[in-house]
């Protein structure tokens, strides 16, 4: 597992060691993107901003009210990255570092927005860590087995399943999630981070991460089931 501690001042070897343990113990993550950026490779920077743009926008939009505000947050993130790139030592993955900066910026702007629009936050549901069942209990018999099992989607034509309209449904379903589920779902399933990276980015436990992800995915599946039936 790669360290995801973003601004840690700890040395890059396990705690408790008082001295440098030798090169064979320290994992030096090889990150071609980071090397290319530091060497001033414009094509690499352009490819990187292109690759991260969609997931960054989705994450920013989950905190900020509109596309313009989200785009500003993405822009400020990259400008912050450039300002601090020389100090970044690669202890976390470059992608984790970039998204960590975006999270800080988007959350801080969201707090400012909430102060300006004090009622806005009242309309945002949460409950991302609830423990109730994620599937309508009426779909199971008293024996706990399916009485109304899900229809397989294998008969849905691929053109429909992968079509623009389905993707729009998925986007809407993600946006409708409670904030705590939404940020985990976006980081895991939209941006493609692994579980450890998401726990580090959001400072949550592995179990908490899985509960939020499970509830979020179950809601998106349910929205798709309703749309595809």
């Amino acid at each position: 597992m790669m360290s995801v501690s973003l601004f840690s001042s700890l040395p890059p070897w396990p705690e408790g060691r008082s001295s440098y343990p030798g090169p064979q113990v320290v994992r030096q993550p090889v990150d071609p993107d980071l090397d290319a950026l530091k060497s001033g490779d414009e094509a690499a920077f352009e490819a990187l901003i292109g690759r991260y743009h969609g997931p960054m926008m989705r994450l920013a939009m989950s905190y900020l009210r509109d596309r313009g505000a989200a785009e500003d947050a993405v822009q400020e993130t990259w400008l912050t990255c450039l300002r601090t790139l020389n100090k970044f030592e690669g202890r976390s993955a470059l992608k984790t570092w970039v998204f960590g900066i975006l999270l800080n910026i988007a959350r801080s702007r969201h707090r400012k927005e909430s102060r300006i629009l004090p009622f806005a936050s009242l309309f945002r549901r949460d409950g991302g860590e609830g423990r109730g069942p994620t599937v309508d209990q009426r779909r199971f018999g008293s024996d706990g087995l399916w009485s109304a099992p899900p229809d397989s989607w294998s008969n849905v034509p691929e053109s429909k399943l992968l079509g623009r309209e389905t993707i729009d449904q998925v986007k809407a379903a993600i946006e409708a999630l409670p904030a705590k589920q939404r940020e985990v779902v976006i980081l895991r399933d939209v941006a493609g981070f692994d579980a450890d990276e998401v726990c580090g980015l959001l400072s949550i436990s592995a179990a908490n991460q899985r509960v939020r992800l499970h509830r979020g995915r179950a809601s998106v599946r349910k929205a798709l089931e309703e749309y595809l039936k």
């Binding site: 292109g50 450039l82 099992p149 989607w153 399943l161 998925v170 779902v185 939209v190 592995a206 499970h214």
Partner: protein, 76 residues
Amino acid sequence: MTCREVVELMTDYLDGALSAADRARFDQHMQGCDGCRAYLAELRTARMLMGRVGSEPVPEPLKAELMNAFRNWKSS
């Protein structure tokens, strides 16, 4: 394990977070349950579709501004 229990373990299963004993009971249930297999396939499809939500081009004005900032950073 019942279907009601199995559906709530699917994210743990996909993340490899089930204990060996739970994993064995989960696998045993899945082998004989079309409904739970369909549910797991749908969760996987939902995950795959969410991966497609993220592709979005950088608007030209933003790209121009960021490339300019990168060139300034490079020359500083």
